[in-house]
């Protein structure tokens, strides 16, 4: 599945990357699957996306739960809990 990844704030800095276009294997079906798939790349991915870290995710610019299924061509963003206002 083709996806457009976006990273913000401490995740962007930790990965040294603000975005990436990727094609995922068929077993990557949900947000949680994608996060594990990326963490398998080793560091800094493993460290930044470790399951102990609280990370929020947006699918097509809408905040979603980890169990949400991915959709072809989606924009998927990972970021820390928000701190605006």
């Amino acid at each position: 599945m083709k996806l457009e990844l976006r990273f913000f704030a401490s995740l962007r800095e930790g990965l040294g990357l603000s975005g990436e276009s990727i094609a995922t294997p068929p077993e990557v079906k949900t947000i949680a699957d994608l996060r594990s798939h990326l963490a398998e790349r080793g560091n800094p991915w493993a460290e930044v996306l470790a399951s102990t870290k609280i990370i929020r995710c947006a699918l097509n610019q809408e905040m979603v739960a980890d169990s949400t299924p991915l959709v072809e061509g989606a924009e998927v963003a990972f970021f820390p809990p928000v701190t605006g206002g």
Binding site: F8, A9, I54, Q61, E62, A77, P80, T83, G85
Partner: protein
């Protein structure tokens, strides 16, 4: 069929969302928001500013990052939720991004309504939701170096009150 786009356009003109680097002037914004609207009996505003202290560290300045596109969408969603709960005339949210210094203004929420009760509640609701749902992030400059601000549990608790 023809009334739908017109209604949609009318609705959009009553909600104003701006994400900008520039500062804002409260008096000017309130004047514009309630201009030519004699239905208005209450205007409630909230202004958030930069403190020089956070979590025991001195703050020399900060930089605000956001997620362009999602930020505007999430603020629209927050305002629509407020409209579902209270009768509001106009709403305005301005959120600054980029570098800011202590005492600078960060955010403005302004709401007009017929009566104060609805305006007070809606303004607080919008602000509580913004704190937990709008994609903004603060990075503070302290004497120990720069660090990303951690989200507060008290912000989640403030939002949970509205559920």
């Amino acid at each position: 069929m023809h009334s739908f786009p017109r209604l949609l356009a009318a609705k959009m003109q009553n909600d104003f969302i701006r994400v900008q680097e520039a500062d804002f002037d409260l008096t000017t914004e309130v004047k514009t928001l309630r201009k030519n609207d004699p239905r208005v009996g209450a205007v409630v505003t909230f202004v958030g500013t930069v403190r020089d202290m956070n979590d025991g560290s001195q703050v020399k300045g900060m930089t605000l990052e956001h997620y362009p596109g999602m930020t505007e969408k999430s603020l629209e969603e927050i305002i629509q939720q407020a409209r579902g709960r209270w009768d509001l005339y106009k709403t305005l949210v301005i959120h600054r991004v980029g570098p800011l210094l202590p005492e600078d203004q960060i955010v403005l929420v302004a709401v007009t309504s017929a009566h104060r009760g609805e305006a007070f509640a809606a303004c607080e609701f919008i602000m509580d939701y913004l704190k937990t749902a709008a994609p903004f992030w603060k990075k503070e400059e302290t004497p120990e170096g720069s660090k990303w601000v951690d989200a507060r549990v008290t912000d989640d608790a403030a939002m949970a009150r509205w559920k």
